[in-house]
């Protein structure tokens, strides 16, 4: 279960909430106030959908007005967005495509419809102005380095263009679009997200050269085509965003023929344990409080895997820290995030068992339990 970002609220409101709790316990004054207006909610950041715009036949932009001040983000980052569909809250990550310094504090995300998906078809067909959505925190490291590079290559395909759109706008405000070459691959002009603005910029802006690569007219772009299109590609700081296969092919090309440190790329899948610099933690004993059993982790094994190794079933989903299905309440102890090496966790905090290992002894509350039979080893 994932929780939305906490809205920033004034010190006065925090005091009212703390004092008022005496009267509302075990609820918070918020739980009553938010029935009057969602703008008064101080625990979860919500936003109202104020516009839904079709970009291409299968891409939709939704414009959001956060109910409290948006804490800000860097161009190129993505946002986790929670929406209610048929009574269930679903979370997905989408690139923020609005100006990172929007004068009215509005946000937008641009979403490509994935057939068979759950959230993107809803955004494409059912989302309406007036709907409420939940906002997570902005995340992602696909941002322009400071200072901005002189010469830039943008290499994008399909909906991979969405973070680039944000980067370009942010760069242009800082007068950073001095020598940008942008190669964008898509089916045809109809399939080109933000085509009107980008094609116009390509014609009128001296520092921006757009090279559309339409699959309806030409073969799929390969790394070998780069020499012909952008002869100085290897000297440019490059931003690469597109489908996985494309990223893999071009990243390999940079490693072999270019300077890998000049290549920035956007991947959504986290890589657990992929970072060799992360030192393993001390490990420890994990006590599952509800069903009364203990497991051991050496510091490299996640809490989820250590628990399952004892023969117990535990709640889980993606197993890579994305879906939040596995969250348990930390009763005591600290845990180490296996992806970043960071040690975290306060009592009462919800932690993702699939990407954390115990740092010393920990105790967890694994939530509600249904064991069907006295010899059952199943939870939920």
């Amino acid at each position: 279960m994932e929780i939305a970002a906490r809205p920033q609220v004034s010190a006065l409101r925090r005091v009212v909430s703390r004092v008022g709790r005496t009267l509302t316990t075990p609820l918070l004054p918020d739980d009553y106030f938010e029935m009057l207006s969602s703008r008064w909610a101080t625990r979860e950041l919500r936003a109202e959908v104020i516009a839904v715009r079709r970009e291409t036949p299968d891409t939709t932009t939704i414009v959001l007005r956060p109910a409290a001040a948006w804490p800000g983000h860097a161009a190129g980052q993505y946002l986790r967005l929670g929406v209610h569909i048929d009574g269930i809250r679903h979370w997905r990550a989408y690139t923020i495509t609005s100006d990172d310094a929007h004068p009215d504090g509005l946000l937008s995300v641009t979403v490509k419809r994935v057939d068979g998906g759950r959230v993107s078809p809803w955004i494409a067909t059912s989302c309406r102005p007036g709907d409420t959505v939940y906002l997570g925190e902005a995340e992602g490291t696909f941002v322009v380095p400071d200072p901005a590079p002189e010469r830039i290559l943008m290499l994008t395909a399909g909906s991979g263009i969405t973070p680039i759109w944000s980067l370009l706008r942010s760069l242009s405000r800082a007068d950073g679009v001095r020598d940008v070459v942008h190669v964008h691959c898509c089916r045809d002009e109809e399939d080109f997200i933000f085509a009107a603005d980008l094609l116009a910029a390509g014609e009128h802006h001296d520092g921006y050269r757009l090279l559309p690569h339409y699959r309806s007219e030409r073969e799929r772009l390969t790394p070998a085509d780069l020499d012909g299109l952008v002869p100085d590609w290897a000297e440019r700081t490059t931003f690469l965003s597109g489908p996985s296969a494309m990223i893999d092919a071009f990243a390999a090309h940079w490693t072999e023929y270019g300077d890998r440190s000049l290549l920035h790329l956007e991947r959504f899948q986290p890589v657990i344990g992929g970072d060799a610099t992360t030192t393993p933690g001390s490990g420890g004993t994990i006590r599952f409080r509800m069903t009364e059993f203990e497991a051991e982790s050496d510091g490299r094994t996640s809490i989820l895997e250590a628990g399952e190794a004892t023969g117990h079933a535990l709640p889980h989903g993606c197993r890579m820290g994305v879906c939040h299905t596995c969250k348990c309440t930390l009763v005591s102890g600290r845990v180490r995030d296996l992806r970043t090496g960071e040690v975290l966790g306060d009592p009462g905090e919800l932690i993702r068992t699939c990407v954390t290992a115990p740092e010393g002894p920990v105790e967890l509350d694994e939530g509600h339990v249904v064991m069907r039979g006295t010899n059952a080893r199943s939870i939920r």
């Binding site: 005496t22 075990p26 739980d31 509600h368 339990v369 249904v370 069907r372 039979g373 006295t374």
Partner: protein, 401 residues
């Protein structure tokens, strides 16, 4: 038609071939387990907007009712304010504890993925902190239901509710404990969760007991400050009346919760089990034990709502994590399974169930005991003769419809 009551000579032992827990073959048990599981899975696949709206609407209703009642009580100097406020607050507290709190803490609404209506974050208006309650209730009571010695809810470690619990002189005070427990139920539950017996047996470390005790004290303090200090203070010169109103609402809620919960497991119909009988059971046997260890209470929709749908205690014990609003819908399917497998379906009107519980509590305060009468297998009522056959008009003009 309700199940035919028949008396059995012997209360459940493995020797009794008619005991519902032992009459089915392992294959039948496996099939029965699959049938119950299928009901659960079908309901889970169907959960959606209608269910989400139900619980969100109920939570909104509770908060409005609680707020309006508290405000009415600020004017408790007037009789209308006092009576309406006390009644409203009592109903609000009952809804909050039973249909909302108990069921959210069971994880019945976790599927919505809403962090504010989730078993891992919910806290309820009760002296008992949710974390200790989830362990003692969701895990211990719902896994070892009615197993004497394992399920600490059989008599709550202070009362003798089954003749197979050995008698001790302390049980002579049972009629008094009974009254006290009814009036102070939330406090009884809070200290029951501590499970001091487990500590004495060395099953629970002292450090955990201390930490849980601190949790109870912290939680209880907040509850006491709210109901017995803060709101009376806000009422100014009416503080005595508001204090009395809040205490009344808490006691009304306590007595009601006590009555519903005692009717769920301690009427004559419900079976208890020995540790041996429940040892190493299959999923099918677990379902049978849940089925016959619980008893329903008959009533209308308002009664079901106010009981937190624990009037469908049988369905709740079969499917503790199923949204309670679905119990009424699946009850006919549970009865159908009982009919086909010749198992009892325990149910009865409130006064009958409550009367049988109170009689047992009085009798079992003294040594010895009596055989509780067990119902026979559930028999589905004869289907009413179909309308097409009895309606003379339809018979006269069969082609005109």
């Amino acid at each position: 038609m309700s199940p035919r009551p028949v008396s059995t000579d012997k209360q459940g032992t493995t020797a009794d071939p008619n005991h519902p827990l032992h009459k089915l073959t392992p294959e039948q048990l496996e099939e029965l387990g699959r049938e119950f599981q299928a009901i659960h899975d079908e309901v889970y696949a169907d959960l959606g907007e209608r269910d989400a709206e139900y619980i969100r609407g109920l939570i909104r209703f509770h908060r409005r009712l609680a707020a309006v009642s508290r405000i009415a009580l600020l004017g408790s100097g007037s009789t209308i304010g006092l009576v309406a406020g006390t009644a409203g607050l009592s109903v609000a507290k009952i809804l909050e504890n039973m249909e909302i709190g108990h069921n959210v803490l069971h994880g019945q609404w976790d599927w919505m993925n809403d962090p504010k209506i989730h078993s891992s974050t919910w806290e309820w208006d009760s002296a008992s902190p949710s974390s200790s309650w989830k362990h003692s209730h969701n895990y211990v009571h719902h896994t070892y239901t009615n197993v004497i010695g394992k399920d600490k809810d059989v008599g709550y470690e202070i009362m003798r509710v089954d003749e197979r619990q050995p008698w001790k002189p302390a049980y002579l005070g049972q009629p008094i404990y009974n009254l006290l427990l009814a009036a102070l139920f939330e406090w009884g539950v809070a200290f029951h969760d501590l499970d001091l017996e487990a500590m004495r047996n060395g099953e629970k470390p002292m450090t955990q007991v201390k930490e849980e005790l601190r949790g109870i004290v912290r939680k209880a303090m907040r509850q006491v400050v709210k109901d017995y200090i803060a709101f009376p203070l806000l009422s100014g010169r009416n503080w005595r009346r508001t204090l009395a109103a809040n205490a009344t609402a808490n006691v009304v809620r306590n007595v009601w919760a006590y009555a519903i919960i005692f009717c769920g497991h301690f009427p004559d119909q419900a079976y208890t089990f020995t540790e041996e009988e429940a040892a190493d059971e299959s999923m099918g046997a677990w379902y049978v034990r849940q089925l016959i260890g619980a008893a329903n209470i008959e009533g209308g929709d308002t009664f079901h709502l106010m009981s937190g749908n624990l009037s469908f205690q049988v369905e709740h014990h079969l499917f503790p994590d199923m949204p309670s609003s679905r119990y009424k819908e699946i009850a006919p399917r549970v009865k159908d399974i009982c009919d086909r497998y010749e198992l009892p379906y325990n149910t009865g009107p409130f006064l009958k169930q409550f009367g049988s519980v109170q009689r047992s509590l009085l009798r079992l305060a003294f040594p010895g005991g009596f055989q509780k009468r067990k119902p026979g297998p559930y028999v589905a009522p004869e289907p009413p003769a179909s309308a097409t056959e009895t309606n003379p008009l339809r018979r006269a003009f069969p082609q005109v419809v």
